[in-house]
Amino acid sequence: MRFADFTPFDLVLLAQGLGVSLALFLTTTVAGLLLGLGFAVVHHFRFPFVNPLIVAVTEALKNSPVLVQLFLVFFGIPALMQIRMTPASAAFITLSLNTAAFAFVIIRAGIESIDRDQIDAAEAFGLRRIQILRRVIGPQALAFSIGPIVGILVNQLQVTSLISVIGVFDLTKIGNILNLRTLEPFIVWAVIGSIYYVCAKILAHSGARLERRIRRSYAWGEV
């Protein structure tokens, strides 16, 4: 056996890399969705000065490359503020904010898609704005948003591969290491790509099931 051959231990490396990628994906998804939801709720209540700020920040996040954002957080912020930043925290901050920006846009559209008539009725019956958001707008906006959000998350899963460039040992970084050692780029990258593919498919499939469940539990729209 040559030093460069594949070994069973490489499977452990791959599993570790996958674990890092998934952990980062899941934590940034939770943080990003909560933050995006928070942005959308704040935006809905039209606080002065805050709305333009939210829109400006999310627009900037949506319209610039994630890799550039990552460099800004990993290299730029520590330089500016004289603090230390680990690759993992830089990855977490960047991807969470990025997911939040897309979640904000989708949830906001969901909220704004609710027909004015129902809100009139709820207001005329004396419900407060927070009650209207929770009981009338929220459930419908959720059903509207779930499909697009799953779509974004499938994309964000792929985007996690960018963090390998700042030295996080995610699945792509492991691919890089195996590739340098074995000099078998076609095999390595085909395997890495397939792992991402399978994860994305599982995610999309469970998202579609969740969406069907939510829609069925409301039953409206499919009589």
């Binding site: 709820a122 207001e123 005329a124 004396g126 009650q131 009981r135 459930p139 009589v223």
Partner: protein
């Protein structure tokens, strides 16, 4: 009592309500007639606070609806039935009816549901409690809309062209229910085009024209030759309706 004094409502450049003064006493059924665009619906939307008056005052049992506290108090004692039903599509008939009693009046869910089922039975929808609005016909939806208003046990019911979106047959279903309500001494402000029905249930009729109250008369007088019919505009309006 609902007291409306010198009510003005303008949208951008157009004046929709131009100095309306109207009192509705407890137990009265006041029908508001008038051509489309005369300001009838806007009048209702000002009373329930969905539009903010540009001038004048509205009080419901002394609660000034232009103040936040007054509006909240007024909304607990009055309820609206809408032209396009305005039901919540993601809730069943039962859910539509119980939302405000639970959230606004603080009733328990069980109590609100029991009351809602009784109301649904009263309007002939006993078997439809768990259906969603999309599974109901227009007439059934409006009956749910009426139950939703009644569930608040309101002193005042505001009805905004509640049969305009219905065909003649289902209009009958809804009018039958309103007829029943009328005999139960509920106070109603009834914006409608159903002249014959208005004549049969109202105690008073007001006629609106271009944002002003043209006449305000007891029903009998309104339809009398020397009363409302003596006003050329009303005679013309009623003859047009009869032609239809």
């Amino acid at each position: 009592m609902i007291r409306i004094k010198d009510l003005v409502k303008t949208f951008d450049d157009s004046t929709v309500l131009d100095g309306v003064t109207l009192d509705v006493n407890a137990g009265e059924i006041v029908t508001v007639l008038g051509a489309s665009g005369s300001g009838k619906s806007t009048l209702i939307r000002c009373i329930n606070g969905l539009e903010r008056p540009s001038g004048g005052t509205i009080t419901v049992d002394g609660n000034d609806v232009t103040t936040k506290a007054g509006l909240a108090a007024s909304r607990r004692i009055s309820a609206t039935v809408f032209q396009l039903f305005n039901l919540y599509p993601h809730m069943t008939a039962l859910g539509n009816i119980t939302l405000a009693p639970v959230e606004v009046l603080g009733k328990s869910k069980a109590e609100a549901e029991e009351q809602a089922r009784a109301l649904l039975a009263k309007v002939g929808l006993a078997g439809h409690a768990d259906k969603y609005p999309q599974q109901l016909s227009g007439g059934q939806r409006q009956r749910v809309g009426i139950c939703r208003a009644l569930a608040m046990q309101p002193r005042y019911i505001l009805l905004d062209e509640v049969t305009s979106a219905l065909d003649p047959e289902t209009t009958g279903e809804v009018l039958d229910i309103l007829q029943k309500l009328a005999t139960e001494a509920t106070t109603m402000v009834f914006v409608t085009h159903e002249v014959a029905f208005a004549r049969s249930i109202s105690t008073r009729i007001v006629f609106m024209e271009a944002g002003k109250l043209l006449v305000d008369m007891p029903t009998e007088e309104f339809f009398a030759e020397n009363g409302g019919l003596a006003v050329p505009r009303i005679r013309q309006f009623l003859s047009q309706i009869r032609k239809d």
